[in-house]
């Protein structure tokens, strides 16, 4: 692995995205539209339901969007033959994985800034903790989505399979992340499973920032677990890249 190759790869991926205005717009606008829609749904409900659900969704959207974009982008590298070609060059598998993580990490920062700003200033989301921490969590969350997307695309052979991996990888995490029912009220087995899944920690961290004035002590361990998942997914993902294929 060499930094120059990693950066060149990240730059190339960002350049590809820059030429695709519609994808960039979708990545930035869709989370805002969904948050706005949700705020509207709860606008006449008693209590402060949006303040409870909104932060959790800020933890769900970046992961979902980045998961889809990344798994399709890397699958495209496989099907167009650019991956096979790259694997005949000195490019390290880690260069490719980190290049993707870096490039989509940059997109994640943008998306997190836009979605968080929209949630707080337009939808009137009340947050007790610091907004910058909300953004940090959203970025780690999006990088997590990228890493999981890279891993999932290693198991997809066609676009149809790649798209199906979204419900397969992400929806179970969504059901168990504590948004529908607090995790400690789930059946013991499901709670144990949700204790392992990374999205649970993203949602926990977001909720901590929303409800506590000084949440750093609770958020850091959650961020730690998410980063372990990022590393794990990137390592496992690079194992699915084979220089030799049948």
């Amino acid at each position: 692995m060499r930094p120059r190759t990693t950066l060149a790869t990240a730059g190339r991926i960002l350049r590809q995205l820059r030429g695709d205005h519609r994808t960039v717009a979708l990545m930035l606008v869709v989370p805002c539209v969904l948050l706005g829609l949700l705020a509207w749904v709860y606008s006449q409900a008693p209590g402060e339901v949006f303040d409870e659900v909104g932060p959790a969704l800020l933890g769900v959207f970046p992961l979902v969007v980045m998961f889809i974009v990344t798994s399709i982008a890397t699958l495209r590298e496989r099907t167009t033959g650019t991956l096979e070609r790259l694997l005949t060059t000195p490019l390290g598998k880690g260069d490719l994985m980190l290049g993707y993580a870096l490039a989509f990490g940059v997109m994640a920062v943008l998306q997190a800034l836009v979605a968080s700003a929209f949630a707080v200033w337009v939808c009137g989301l009340d947050i007790e903790g610091p907004v910058w921490l909300l953004v940090v969590i959203a970025v780690v969350d999006a990088v997590l989505g990228t890493a999981l997307g890279l891993l999932a695309s290693g198991f997809a052979r066609t676009e149809f399979q790649a798209v199906q991996f979204m419900p397969a990888f992400v929806l179970p995490q969504f059901l168990l992340c504590g948004l529908l029912l607090p995790r400690d009220r789930m059946p013991g087995v499901l709670e144990a499973v949700s204790d392992v899944l990374p999205l649970s920690y993203a949602v926990d961290a977001m909720t901590d920032v929303a409800t506590q004035a000084d949440p750093l002590g609770d958020v850091l361990p959650s961020l730690g677990v998410m980063l372990v998942w990022v590393a794990l997914a990137l390592v496992l993902g690079s194992l699915t890249l084979r220089r030799r294929t049948p």
């Binding site: 790869t9 350049r15 070609r85 060059t89 220089r243 030799r244 294929t245 049948p246």
Partner: protein
């Protein structure tokens, strides 16, 4: 030190449960352009994938520049052009070549030189998606040339190109060989046989011929590459051959 750039011994490759290469041996001398010809489905692309080390092989050895094919030390020295142009359609020609240059450790002057070599300087700023098929495959070739490899494995680099461009590309190939580089070029176009130093005819995974064009013509008593190949293939089928891959053999040779 041997003067062979590529030595293949008893190479066996299975794809989808079928024996595509049932035990192939060949040698490619350094500094030559070797043409790999034969009916489609005969194993040309599989052999080329084995030469660059991306093909899982069932047996035998492939060594390139004295090292096993696909070794880390060869990744900068061997250039591979896939049959389908493998470049990023949503980038410009220059951005594509630049990226592969960065990966291969080449500099900015190499980028412009590679684009110039395939006559795409006028289109360097154009997105690949907007280019014609011929320009697309030339972009792909530029991404191989930019690394300045010692051995080039080119899978049908001239397919779909007009005669003028084909001639220009062959002049590039001849120039590269004159500098001491080794090229393995597969082709369907028989008149390209005259451009090669040696010709390998591959049918059903077996080498029917490995010689210069002159030797081939003398052996078959023909005056041109195409009838010579047809004569060899007919002879192989009359022998009963191996029977393998006969379905694929035919029209294209």
């Amino acid at each position: 030190m041997t003067d062979a750039a590529i030595v293949v011994e008893d190479l066996r490759v299975l794809r989808g449960g079928r024996e595509v290469l049932p035990g192939l041996s060949m040698t490619v001398p350094r500094g030559q352009v070797v043409g790999l010809l034969g009916p489609s489905g005969g194993g040309k692309s599989t052999l080329m994938r084995a030469l660059v080390g991306v093909q899982v092989v069932a047996g035998g050895t492939v060594s390139v520049l004295g090292a096993p094919a696909g070794s880390a030390s060869l990744r900068r020295r061997v250039g591979y052009l896939t049959q389908a142009p493998s470049v990023y359609a949503d980038l410009t020609v220059r951005d594509n070549v630049r990226y592969f240059a960065a990966v291969l450790g080449a500099d900015a002057t190499a980028v412009e030189r590679a684009i110039e070599a395939v006559h795409l300087s006028d289109h360097a700023g154009a997105r690949v998606a907007n280019l014609s098929g011929g320009q697309l495959s030339r972009t792909s070739l530029a991404c191989t040339l930019v690394g300045d490899p010692e051995v080039l494995v080119l899978d049908e680099p001239t397919v779909g190109l007009d005669p003028v461009l084909r001639r220009e590309l062959w002049e590039i190939f001849r120039g590269l060989a004159a500098e001491g580089r080794t090229l393995v070029v597969s082709s369907h176009v028989m008149d390209e046989a005259v451009r090669c130093d040696r010709l390998l005819l591959l049918r059903a995974g077996a080498l029917l011929s490995d010689s210069t064009l002159a030797e081939l013509l003398a052996r078959t008593g023909t005056e041109d590459a195409e009838p010579a190949f047809l004569a060899l293939i007919d002879a192989a089928e009359d022998d009963g051959g191996s029977g393998r891959g006969r379905r694929g053999a035919g029209a294209e040779a």
